[in-house]
Amino acid sequence: MSSVIDARGLSCPQPVILTVGKIRELERGRIEILVDTDTSRENVTRAARSKGWEVRDIEPDGTGYKITIEKG
């Protein structure tokens, strides 16, 4: 089971705040984050990696991206 964060339409720094908040809440597991700008994609993956999570997948989703991050 993965948690889903819908950060579409949210501007900086909300996608990262939501991602980091979920990372702190879960500590480990799998999170899917929906974003709709390249800036948000870069910021979310950068923040996830800095917290020791692995970026598993980035796939096009609608007009944006679905980012999957994981920590075992």
């Binding site: 720094p13 390249d38 870069e42």
Partner: protein, 363 residues
């Protein structure tokens, strides 16, 4: 899609900051006002003067750098397939934040870009401004931690995203139809300063060219001066900070080469020495930028890549410049304006109202 963006890497943003620092010092060498190679707030204020929505005759010039920022970001967004028309995230809030960001910046006499450029030129008053900026951004992060947000934008018509680049292009056309006539205070419908900071500028094509280059680099690197401080405070991240420090350092080094460095508090170009108001003005600006999600430069670049809400913030800043000069809110080298102190107090109250009340749980 998913292409590796070199300019958004660690060294990419540092390189972009360094390039902006050098180019700003070069613009100053070529004629822009002292420690004002690039100042987004000052230049938008000059644009407000050029179209006559304020009539302070020393600050009237349709600065091509600003038009270049928008058009460069637009071209970059098209080239890298990042042009995304979007709008509808609390536009009136963004307008009001833009107004007060400008009012605060003009009490200090500079936006965050000019604050570090002033420091790089040896103006020690900038230390108070930068401290105020950091304090304002820190207050903003407290609101962000407690759920403050502007709400979601929606994808919208391509034409919505095109309007700001079109406004920039149209303004550029005006610059060429009504070019400056030496010694004349107006040319056709545009006003020009014959003295003061508005009369000091690099050649039009140089300003435009550097503006375009900075627009392209900043759009791709996501360069943001407010974000540099915010991300450090909020996440302990130093990514954007690297760009801001590089800008400061390389502007300083270039100033040394051009003999544009002179350390001290007094006699600095387009600056006053009222420490408290330098601090308080930038506290207001920093808080407004933090609540709006970007420094004035970043808002221009976002407006170029189709963000209609950032465009509203930019228009708010231009309107704020008009209020500043029409109502005596803006400072001058002689000190703060007659109603500058009151405007800072009102602005802080408005920002606190927005910060406390615009909260929702999004997740």
């Amino acid at each position: 899609m998913g292409m590796k963006n070199v300019l958004a890497s660690r060294w990419g943003i540092i390189g972009v900051g360094a390039a902006i620092g050098i180019l700003a010092a070069v613009l100053q060498k070529l004629g822009n006002p002292g420690n004002m190679g690039i100042c987004v707030a000052c230049f938008e204020r000059d644009i407000a003067g050029a179209v006559g929505i304020h009539r302070a005759d020393v600050v009237q010039y349709l600065r091509p750098e600003i038009l270049g920022f928008v058009l460069g970001a637009f071209l970059s967004a098209l080239l890298f397939r990042e042009f995304r028309p979007r709008a509808g995230s609390a536009p009136i809030t963004r307008f009001v934040l833009g107004v007060f960001a400008m009012i605060g910046a003009l009490v200090f006499l500079g936006c965050p870009w000019r604050a570090v450029l002033r420091l790089a030129g040896g103006d020690l008053n900038a230390v108070l401004g930068i401290a105020g900026l950091a304090f304002g951004v820190w207050i903003g992060t407290l609101f962000l931690k407690n759920g403050y947000n502007l709400g979601r934008s929606q994808n919208t018509y391509t034409s919505v995203g095109l309007l700001m680049p079109l406004i920039a292009f149209g303004s550029l056309v005006l610059v060429f139809i009504f070019p400056q006539v030496q010694g004349e205070p107006a040319s056709g419908i545009l006003f020009y300063s014959t003295k003061g900071p508005g009369s000091m500028h690099a050649p039009v094509l140089v300003s435009l060219g550097i503006g375009l280059v900075v627009g392209i680099l900043a759009q791709q690197s996501r360069f943001c001066t407010m974000g540099a401080i915010r991300d450090l405070v909020l996440f302990g991240q130093t990514h954007l900070l690297g760009g801001l420090i590089a800008l400061t350092l390389f502007a300083f080094l270039t100033n040394l080469v051009f003999r544009q460095f002179s350390a001290g508090f007094t006699g600095q170009p387009v600056a006053h020495t009222l420490h408290f108001w330098n601090f308080a003005g930038m506290t207001l600006a920093g808080l407004a930028f933090a609540l709006a999600g970007g420094c004035p430069g970043r808002q221009l670049f976002l407006s170029g890549e189709g963000d209609g809400d950032s465009a509203v913030f930019v228009i708010g800043m231009v309107a704020g410049a008009a209020f500043s000069h029409n109502f005596g809110l803006a400072s001058s080298p002689a000190g703060i304006g007659p109603h500058g102190a009151a405007a800072v107090a009102v602005g802080l109250a408005v920002c606190l109202f927005i910060g406390f009340t615009m909260r929702t749980k999004l997740a």
